[in-house]
């Protein structure tokens, strides 16, 4: 096993020496991914809905009990702090998940709301079961609790005698579920899920495998593809939801009656249009292979996802932005990157130059702006 730091916890990079089998399990069978280090917050009380609606860019009042929403939240300037999910577990009970620590940001806005905020990060473990067979695995281990659960919904059930919440969510862009359980029962639940998963080809999968999957799905990662506005030294490091392809999640109409944090700035940006766009790049393989062949080498792609940040130029060689993460897609046989570029270069079909280092030399190859997600199977929604 190889470990990496994840929010102060040990996260598993891969269970075996290479991650390939774990990636293919996510796309062909099911991968079991320990996502316990995600930050979790319980938000409950009479004003929980109003409170969250004030923080989040999405209108939480529209969320029915049992429903989950993916969204982001911003500072007063409409710059993103983090992205995550809000699950309405009961009428006045919500759970928020996030990539970064947000207790302080949430807590400083509770004044005037009848709401309880608890950082439950260390109280709950979370296990993602992702892949085309995940429904069979979770159904088998819960006695059929999720067969009819729709995408972005939650249900309460039991696994190995323990109370759990199962949400149909995930970070792989595939059919998938996340199981939330109190720490005391985590190991028993994990063992039960592994056992139920065996006949379906499910195996433990690490974070490298999940990263490749999330890049194929076009999902963004705080700290990699954008930065928490509260931690950014300079303005150019901050991003608005419109710049990160999250404009769809910004519910501005309600702001006329009840503003939310950042709504004024976001309204302006919606009118003027975002200065940058977050795009998918398909890196030209023939040119890429040609650069390597020039050195007598076969083409070499990064094993797993990369997140080093690579400059992107227009066809005249002018700097227009950066690719923040990418991966060779073993499924689609394409070399993809996610990039933030000046808006005028973000149109689908537009060609840009992408920097590649071959034998220590910096060169460029053509890349085309393509639709995201790169991979979006029907089974994810079905």
């Amino acid at each position: 096993m190889f470990y990496m730091d994840w929010a102060g916890y040990y996260g598993v990079r891969s269970y075996e020496t290479t991650h390939e089998a774990e990636y293919h399990a996510i796309r062909q069978a099911a991968g079991l991914i320990d996502v316990t280090p995600l930050y979790k917050y319980e938000v409950y009380g009479k004003d929980a809905c109003a409170f969250l609606s004030r923080i989040m860019v999405r209108n939480i009042a529209k969320l029915k009990a049992g429903q989950v929403a993916y969204l982001c939240w911003c500072d007063e300037d409409g710059k993103m702090i983090d992205d995550g999910t809000v699950s309405r577990l009961d009428e006045d009970y919500y759970r928020v998940t996030s990539t970064d620590a947000n207790y302080s940001w949430f807590a400083r806005h509770t004044v005037g709301y009848d709401v309880v905020l608890e950082d439950s990060t260390a109280r709950f473990a979370a296990l993602a079961v992702q892949g085309p067979r995940s429904r069979d695995v979770v159904d088998d281990v819960t006695g059929g609790a999720v067969g009819k659960l729709k995408l972005f919904y939650a249900t309460r059930t039991k696994i190995a005698g323990a109370e759990v919440i199962v949400t149909r969510t995930g970070f792989t862009g595939d059919l998938g579920y996340e199981i939330w359980v109190e720490n005391d029962h985590a190991i028993a639940v994990y063992d039960a899920v592994i056992e139920a998963g065996r006949p379906h080809g499910a195996i433990p999968s690490g974070l490298i495998a999940m990263d490749v999957a999330r890049i194929e799905a076009g999902f963004i990662l705080n700290g990699i593809d954008y930065f928490n506005a509260l931690h950014s030294m300079i303005d150019s490091r901050k991003s608005s939801p419109f710049e990160m392809s999250l404009g769809w999640a910004v519910h501005l109409k309600r702001a006329e009656r009840k503003p939310f944090i950042g709504s004024d700035a976001l309204k302006n940006e919606k009118q003027t249009g975002p200065p940058r766009l977050f795009v998918g790049l398909d890196i030209d393989w023939d040119e890429f292979e040609g650069l390597f062949a020039g050195h007598g080498l076969p083409p070499e792609v990064h094993s797993g996802g990369w997140r080093a940040g690579v400059p992107v130029y227009d066809l005249d060689g002018k700097f227009i932005g950066q690719a923040t993460s990418g991966a060779w897609s073993p499924l689609l046989k394409k070399n993809f990157a996610l990039a933030s570029v000046k808006a005028e270069h973000g149109e689908i079909g537009n060609q840009v130059l992408f920097e590649v280092t071959v034998e220590y030399q910096r060169r460029t190859v053509k890349a085309t702006v393509v639709e995201k997600p790169f991979f979006d199977p029907e089974r994810k929604r079905a």
Binding site: T18, A21, P199, E289, W328
Partner: protein, 529 residues
């Protein structure tokens, strides 16, 4: 009467479908005619036993050219390749040998047999990668003709010579050795442990009627090293849904470009008028005309059965008759009710997610060949086993598994005569199961269904002459400008408007797709259609 189609392709195997894809993409009207109800030829998936999908004949993918996947957008049409994790050789004593994708783990495994071999293993792999890089240029373009004085052909030879020179003298010598040596002698240039060399040498005999100590087998070894998945040489994979998944993706791509595909439409004759192919006659008597006919079935069947020897001069007919098939392998497909448990590495694990080679020693392999030489199937054969259901649950019910066993030797010419294979079929199947059960004691009790495919069956079912899986041995005298006959290496044939597009043409078999691709490209650039 004007022909309805620009091109008719005889045979809906992966090469025929790739060829159809390229021709249709270039705007030609194309009709593919497949005799069976399923597409894929020898790259087909069939649910022979309910719930279990067998890759009945060919079973792993590696040599398939990555640029074909890109150019025909096969990923969009459902092609998904899942890599094999490792190579496991079980032994009757000790923990066996597993070669992993990880260099250090592999070194540790090999060092149990030889410290020297463990450390030289990466050097060997590097040398083979360099060779594969060289060969790639040959397999990705039509074969040059050394006897031609045409300036383009001379340039091609010169270009290859330059490319060859770039390898450096050591590699050039090595390449010459590779063309002439036996797989075992070639491996001995690096290694000392026979236990290690045994499973490595078998790549040199796949699909040939030769033993690991027979000269010429070193080349076939390299042929199997050329496989690349995602740019990495020497990687093998499963096609999701079995090898038929690959054929279906090729078919779907061809259709999306406008090709028409008919199954249960066997071709009995290729119509020739005044030395020109003008169309085909179907088994049901229907006639369909086309400007060009491309045959993806093997040269023997194409020329001697579908066209008829009377249309060719003696020299050509003699060459085609001498072109070697002599199939040497069979296939046993099993449906299992649980995962297979090997005594030398008990339990489920990574070692079951690659291929398993029953190749305990070089003598074992040579003895298997000895029996075949005298017209018997090997009672203790070389077996290459995979469990595709371990990584692709779509081919078996939950918790159950498909076990695919490639078996060599099963000579087409058994001493009783090939037509007597059906009466030997089950005995052959028993020998295979008995052999594996020595390493995997619970196997017999876990078998729900067994399908035995002999070389005779391959000939009867998918039309592979003498059951040769490559449509003709991949021996040096049948490669490049010698495949299938001298002077006819570029997919044309002595019959005008009749072309070859299957594995019997350069660069040969192994689910590469190259003959289909290259024949289409040569035909298109000829502007004859």
């Amino acid at each position: 009467m004007a022909a309805k189609y620009d091109a008719i392709i005889v045979g809906g195997g992966h090469n025929g479908l790739v060829c159809a894809g390229y021709l249709a993409k270039a705007g030609r009207s194309v009709l593919v005619l497949e005799r069976r109800g399923v597409l894929g030829g020898a790259s087909a998936t069939e649910e022979i036993y309910p719930g279990f999908k067998y890759s009945v004949y060919s079973y792993v993918v590696s040599l398939f050219r990555p640029h074909i996947i890109r150019e025909l957008e096969l990923a969009k049409h459902g092609l998904q390749l899942i890599p094999l994790e490792c190579s496991f050789t079980p032994h009757l004593e000790g923990p066996g040998l597993v070669r992993w994708p990880d260099v250090y783990k592999t070194r540790r495994e090999i060092s149990r047999f030889s410290q020297k071999d463990a450390e030289i293993y990466p050097e060997f792999s590097l040398a083979m990668s360099k060779m594969a890089f060289f060969i790639k240029k040959i397999i990705d373009s039509p074969a040059p003709d050394p006897a031609s004085l045409n300036p383009y052909e001379l340039y091609r030879m010169l270009d290859l010579a330059r490319h060859f020179k770039k390898l450096g003298p050591d590699m050039a010598y090595l390449h010459t050795q590779l063309l002439t040596m036996s797989a075992v002698d070639f491996l001995k240039l690096w290694f000392e442990s026979e236990t290690l060399m045994a499973p490595m040498s078998v790549s040199g005999i796949i699909g040939t009627f030769l033993g690991v100590r027979s000269p010429g087998t070193a080349y076939v070894l390299l042929h199997h090293y050329m496989g690349e998945i995602d740019g990495a040489f020497r990687s093998w994979g499963f096609s999701k849904g079995g090898t038929g998944g690959l054929s279906l993706a090729c078919g779907s791509a061809a259709k999306s470009f406008g090709a028409e595909i008919r199954t249960e439409a066997g071709v009995s004759k290729i119509k020739v008028k005044n030395g020109r192919a003008v169309g085909v006659v179907l088994e049901n008597g229907d006639e369909i005309d086309a400007k060009v006919v491309l045959s993806s079935v093997d040269p023997n069947r194409t020329f001697l059965k579908m066209v008829g020897g009377e249309h060719f001069d003696d020299d050509f007919t003699r060459q085609i008759k001498r072109y070697k098939f002599r199939g040497s392998s069979g296939k046993v497909n099993l449906a299992l009710d649980r995962f297979p448990d090997f005594s030398c590495r008990p339990g489920d694990g990574q070692h079951l997610r690659g291929d398993v080679a029953i190749a305990p020693s070089i003598d074992y392999l040579e003895r298997a060949y000895d029996q075949a030489k005298y017209g018997e199937f090997s009672h203790r054969p070389y077996i290459n086993i995979v469990f595709p259901s371990m990584v692709d649950p779509s081919v078996a019910p939950p918790g159950k598994h498909v076990m695919s066993c490639f078996v060599q030797y099963a000579p087409y010419y058994i001493k009783e005569g090939p037509e007597n294979w059906p009466s030997k079929r089950e005995a052959f199947g028993d020998a295979v199961v008995d052999t594996i059960a020595e390493y995997c004691p619970g196997l017999k009790e876990s078998i729900l269904h067994r399908q035995v495919v002999t070389p005779w069956d391959m000939e009867q079912q998918v039309g592979l002459t003498e059951g040769n899986i490559f449509q003709g041995e991949l021996s040096v005298e049948q490669l490049m400008f010698l495949r299938p006959a001298t002077g006819w290496e570029k997919y044309r044939t002595p019959i005008k408007n009749l072309w070859l597009c299957g594995s019997g043409a350069h660069p040969g078999g192994g689910i590469m797709g190259s003959p289909g691709e290259l024949s289409a490209k040569v035909l298109l650039s000829s502007r004859e259609v």
